[in-house]
Amino acid sequence: MELIQEAVPTGFAYLAPWLVFAPLLGLLINLLFGQRFSERMIGLVASLASGAAFIVSVLLASTVSANHGEAIRWQLAEWIHIGTLSLDWTFRIDSLSTTMMLVVSGVGTLIHIYAIGYMHEDVRFKNDPGRFARFFVFLNLFIAAMMILVSGDSYLMLFVGWEGVGLCSFLLIGFWYELDTLGRPSWANSNAAKKAFITNRIGDFGFLIAGFIMFWALGSFQFDEVFEAAQTASPGFIVAITLFMLIGVAGKSAQIPLYVWLPDAMAGPTPVSALIHAATMVTAGVYLITRSAELYTLVPQAQYIVAMTGAVTALFAATIAVGQYDIKKVLAYSTISQLGFMVAAVGMGAFVAGMFHLITHAFFKALLFLSAGSVILGMERGHHNLAHGHNNDHAHGEGSNEEGGHGDSHGEVFDPGDMRNMGGLRRTMPVTYWLYMIGTLALAGIFPFAGFWSKDEILLDASLHYPIVYLLLSIAAFFTAFYMGRQIWMVFFGGHRSEAAAHAVESKPIITVPLMVLAALSVLGGALNLPFEGFHQLGHWLEYTLHEVESLALDYGVAGISTVLALAAIALSWFIYGRNPLRTGQPDPLKGPLGMFFTGMENKWFVDEGYFATIINPFKKLSQFLADVIDWRFWHDWFHETVIAGTYNWVSNIALNRYADQQGIDRFANGLGDVTQWLSAGARRIQNGFVRSYALSVLLGVVLILGYLILR
C-alpha cells in the first residue's frame, strides 16, 4: 500500500478518518450533554456532524478526481495481525467509495435536518421527549458505521460497518421499543427490531463463510490482493465466495429469501425508514457486489443467479405492495422491489446502471418516505387537534404528557398511517402533495424524472443480456407504477375518509425544506448519467474503479415500452381508485376481481407465516426440548442425579442396612431410594453387630485366601 500512497499525491486523504470520527464526535457530545441541550442544539450538533462527513466526502471526491481516479489507501491503524492474516484499519478512497460517501452523507444530512422537526413532534405524540437526544445519537452512530462500510479497504472492514449498520437499524427500529406502530404498549416494535438484526445476522453468516473461503483460497481480505489472486484461483472457489456473499446481500439488501425484515422495519420512526431502510443501508448489498465486480465478472453462472434473485424479488415485492394499506408498508415493499432492480442490474454486470439507480432511488425514495412521514404527522395533528379542540401542538404536547400512551388516550385505536383513513389530503396538505407527486413519478419511471433514466438503463441492459430478467423487471415496473398510482389516489384524492384527514395540517418548513431539496434531486438526478454520448459522467467516474464499463446509448424501444407500461399502470390505477374514490370502510375494489390473488398480496403471500411454521417455531421447540428434556431432565437430573449419585449411594447402602442420613447433600443422594430399601433387607446382614458374623467374615477371608494360594 505504501507504494500506492507514494505513487499519487494523497491530497485530502488525511481527512478520511473524519468520515467516521465526525459523526462519532457528534454522537459523544449528544451522549454526554444531550440531557442538558435543547432539542435544536441536539439536532444542530448531529446535523453538523453528518454535514462535516459530507464535506469531507466532497473533498475526498475532489482528491480522487484530481488523481484521475487513482485509488488512495489511507491506513489509520493496524488491527489484527496473526501469522499470514493481516488486517488494518485502512480507508479506501476511490470513485466508487466516494460516490457512496456522497450519497450517504448527503442524504443523511438532509434527513438529520428533517428529523429535527419530525422527532420534535414524534416524541411528544409518544409522551417521551427525553428520548429526542437518543435518536440523534443513534443516527450519528449509523452514519459512522455506514462510512466505515463504504470506505473500508478490505472485506473485513466492510464487514465491520456491515454489522455496525445492522446494529443501528436494530436500535432505530426498536426506538420505541415499548410500543407498537400505533403507540400501544406492546412487544411489536422490539420484535421487529430483533427480527431485523437476526435476519441480517443470517446474511452475515454467508458473508463470513465467503470471507473464510476467500482467506484460505485467495490469501487475503484486502480488495486489490483478493482481486489479483482471484484471476488465478480456481473458479470453484470464486463461485462459492460470490454465492455466499449473495446470502449476505440478500440479508442486507432485503432480497428473497431474507427480505422479510424490511417491512417490519417500518416500526422505526419515518426518518429512519427513509435513511436506513430506503436510501443507504439497504443498498449496501448492491455496493458490495459492485465492489466485488472483479470477482463476479469471473463467474457468469453466479452472476446469473444474482440477477435472477434480484428480478424475482423485484416482481414479488411489487405484487405485495399492491395489497398494502399502510402508506409506509407500500413504500417498504416498493423499496424491496427497487432493490431487486439494482441487484438484478449489478448481477447482470451493469454495475454503473445499478449504482445509478441506487443513487436516484436514494433521492426519490427518501423523498417519498419523508413525505409519507409528513403525511402521517399531518394526520396525527389532525387527530389530536380533533381530540383536544385546539391546534397548538406544543401545548398539546404537554397536554398529552399526562395521558398514558397515545393509543389508549382515545377509546378506539387510530392508525395515522392507514391509507384507508386518508383521502383528499391534496387540499389539506398541498406542499406535501406536490412533493409526493414528484417522488411518485420518479419512482414510476416517468420521463424525465431521475427514476426514468436509471431504471431504463437497467431494463436496457437486461433486454440485451437476460431476456427473462427483462421480462420480470418490466412487469415489476408496471406494478410499481400501479401501486404508486393507487397510493396517490387513495391518499390525496377523493373525500376525507376520516375526521383526522379532514383536520390534517401541513408540516412546518424544517420538514418540507429538505423534502424540496430531495424533490429537486429526484427531478434532476437523471443528469448524472444520461444515456447520450459524452454524458456518461457517472459511468466514466466509476470506470476508474470498475475498469471496463459499457456505456449504452438510449434505446427508444425499451424506453418507449417501459414508459407506456408505466402510464398504462397509472391509468389503470386511476380507473380503479381515482375515478370513484374509496369511501370509508369500503374494501379494496381489487378484492372482488382478484379474489385469492389479492388476499395473497394483502398477506404478503404468507411468507412470514411460512417462516414461522418451518424455521422459527421448530427452532424454539427444539431448543425447548434440548433445554428441558435432554439437558435438564435427562442429562442433569436423571443421569447425574439418579444414575451417578444414586448408584454411588446405593452401592454404599448395600454394605449397610440404613439410608444415608438425609443431611445437606441428601438432594444429591436420593437416587435409587426404593431400590436401596428393597436391597437393604439383604444388606442388613453384613455389618449387623453380631460378633459371630464378624468372625464368619474373618473365616471367610481365610478360606478364600487359602483357596487362592492352594489353587493358583
Partner: protein, 100 residues
C-alpha cells in the same frame, strides 16, 4: 511310625472345630473355650513339627502360648463377668447395640 501329616491334619480338624465353635455358639464362654481349642490345635501342630525337627523351639513356643492363653483368660473372663453384671446375659447375640 506315624506320619507327621496325620498330626497336622488332626490339629487342622481341631482348629476348624474351634473356629466353628466361635461361629455357631452364642454363649460367650463357649466361644472363648473354642478359641482355647484353636490355640491348642496350634500347639499340637507346633509340638509335632518340633519333634520332627528335633528342636526345642516348638515346645518353647507352646509354652509361651499357654502363658498367653492364661493371660487372655484372665482378661476375657473379667470382661465376660462385667458384661454379665450389666446385661444379665452372656449371649453375644444380645450385644449388638452398635451396628451399621
Amino acid at each position: 511310625m506315624v506320619e507327621i501329616n496325620y498330626y497336622i491334619i488332626l490339629s487342622a480338624v481341631l482348629f476348624t472345630i474351634g473356629a466353628l465353635g466361635v461361629l455357631v455358639r452364642r454363649n460367650a464362654l463357649i466361644i472363648f473355650m473354642s478359641i482355647e481349642l484353636m490355640l491348642n490345635s496350634a500347639n499340637l501342630a507346633m509340638v509335632a513339627f518340633g519333634s520332627v525337627l528335633e528342636s526345642f523351639s516348638g515346645q518353647i513356643f507352646v509354652f509361651f502360648v499357654i502363658a498367653v492363653a492364661a493371660a487372655e483368660v484372665a482378661v476375657g473372663l473379667a470382661l465376660i463377668v462385667e458384661i454379665f453384671k450389666s446385661k444379665r446375659s452372656i449371649d453375644v447375640d444380645q450385644m449388638n447395640s452398635m451396628k451399621g
